[in-house]
Symmetry: C2
Subunit: 320 residues, 2 copies
């Protein structure tokens, strides 16, 4: 074996690295903790060490590396390889490409995680064969990757797909972006936890209270799903409302872009029917009739979606 590609999925908790053949087969992969407090330069050192380990384990050296595809959280400047702002990583204007190229002087195409996941799902997951679809992730944040005419659409400033910050309820709850009533403020994991904390403060009778030992600060989105799984009415109401706004958000993106499908991923989606059922129902009710045929699908690649997308970027990159 001679030439090999590397793929990286950099996230706030862990960094996944993999070696992939030019034919698209994963040869080896490993995971290292992100250790955010140690800063971006330390992360680059640990990424380099991780890739060196993977290369050595396969009888390869740095000279065999053709390119590195890199998925990063948050807005980036693709042309210059800069992570503009990653609240999860606490990276600000960090020249990731230049720092990685000190170790590996190869092409390093980069994109944000939602775009990489979209690319991955389009290649090997729920979007296979589709020229036009939206990958929508509902998790700590709400973001999307737009595959239009078979390619990622980046917009004028690499910012396209920020559907989480479209307003679906004017005057609604405050959002982390400074706005109010954004989709993210209504159906993200933290927003669901916020609704549950409010319910505890309003002295509603709910299993959520028992699960957190009457301590609102311990409420997580997962707590709400756990209570809903046992039929708790307050939890089910909270998830029904979140699902309804998610459905309206999907209806709005369908009216705007007329995609073949919307592919849903992320931790909140993994919560399943208590939120997906109401989301599908609201979508059907609110979508502009000509777009009713838009399919709602679940993502298929799980934690590997960004890694596959990072690989696909290298294969598509003309400079690689």
């Amino acid at each position: 074996m001679r030439d090999i590609i590397a793929a990286l999925d950099i996230g706030g908790t862990k960094i996944l690295s993999a070696l992939v053949t030019p034919g698209g087969e994963i040869v080896a992969h490993e995971q290292v903790p992100s250790e955010v407090p140690r800063g971006p330069l330390d992360a680059v050192q640990r990424i380099a060490a991780s890739l060196d380990r993977l290369l050595a384990g396969n009888g390869l050296g740095r000279e065999h590396l053709l390119a590195i595809g890199c998925s990063v959280p948050g807005p980036i400047d693709r042309a210059n390889g800069i992570v503009v702002l990653s609240p999860n990583m606490k990276w600000y204007d960090f020249p990731l490409r230049a720092e990685l190229q000190k170790h590996f002087p190869v092409p390093i195409p980069m994109d944000d995680d939602a775009n990489c996941a979209a690319l991955g799902e389009g290649w090997r997951g729920a979007g296979r064969g589709l020229r036009d679809f939206i990958y929508l992730t509902v998790s700590t944040g709400v973001g999307s990757g737009l595959i239009l005419d078979g390619r990622i659409y980046h917009g004028a400033r690499d910012g396209a797909g920020e559907i989480g910050h479209a307003v679906v309820l004017p005057g609604g709850p405050p959002c982390s972006c400074g706005g109010a009533g954004c989709l993210e403020a209504l159906c993200s994991g933290p927003s669901i936890a916020n609704r549950a904390r409010d319910a505890l403060l309003h002295a509603d009778e709910t299993l959520i209270r028992t699960l957190v030992d009457d301590d609102p600060s311990r409420v997580q989105c997962e707590t709400v799903f756990a209570a809903a799984a046992q039929g708790d009415a307050v939890a089910l109401d909270i998830l029904r409302a979140a699902g309804r706004y998610l459905g309206i958000g999907m209806a709005n993106v369908a009216a705007t872009l007329d995609p073949r499908a919307i592919i849903l991923g992320g931790g909140v989606i993994a919560g399943g029917e208590p939120i997906l059922g109401p989301a599908r129902e609201a979508f059907r009710r609110h979508v502009y009739p000509p777009m009713r045929g838009t399919e709602l699908r679940l993502a298929e690649l799980g934690t590997f979606s960004c890694l596959w997308g990072a690989t696909r970027m290298v294969l598509d990159d003309e400079t690689a």
Copy 2:
């Protein structure tokens, strides 16, 4: 002069036809009434007669015609040249291309009016030089054309750009599409007239009442603008609310697509500051901060935008 292009802008009131040189210069144009009740086949006859007149007036015959670019209202099937549904024209599944080709056996690229206007503004108007912008028309309906990476984006079923049917106020006023709270139900001309009629029924004191001689059925969107121009508080409130939702709608499309500019056209926009001021303010307030740089511009081509877009389609059409 030998070879010539024709451009058509078919609308519910009038049909504009023009002859254009391959270099993009209008040689002659004329306008005929749409005469909707006489049906689509009659319209095709009158279009043919109009083009024959223009050709003869320039010493040309049908054999000199290279192609016809055609702008039509409402959803179309571009591949098959069919006007799927045009409520304004009362055309349903009408094979416009095939019928026109009985007279003129040349390539006839077609697109809907919002896409044509976007193409026209991008070529000769407010979008010159921009690779990524949205043309948003606010008139009887609310629609848009999306220019993404320098081309019209059509979506999976030629339906992209139906921003007018994105929901911006869940549970809001009913929309012609069967939904509720759509952007179109909140800022289109008819929706503004509806708000004014409601105000008359609620016995509000307003100049609108005087302007229509106390007959709510005579209220038009123009009546509201006329009252606002004289400082009428009820009219200004109605336009402020409509402008606010228009601003939210623009903020949402900016978050979704990260365009360089949003170009505003259509009769309601022509009403000017009473609606544009509040729209700009709401846009600034609601737009996701990274997209604050999105420029809001006014369309420049007026009634000629679709004709220029239809011409551009021919010049871009590889089959032409």
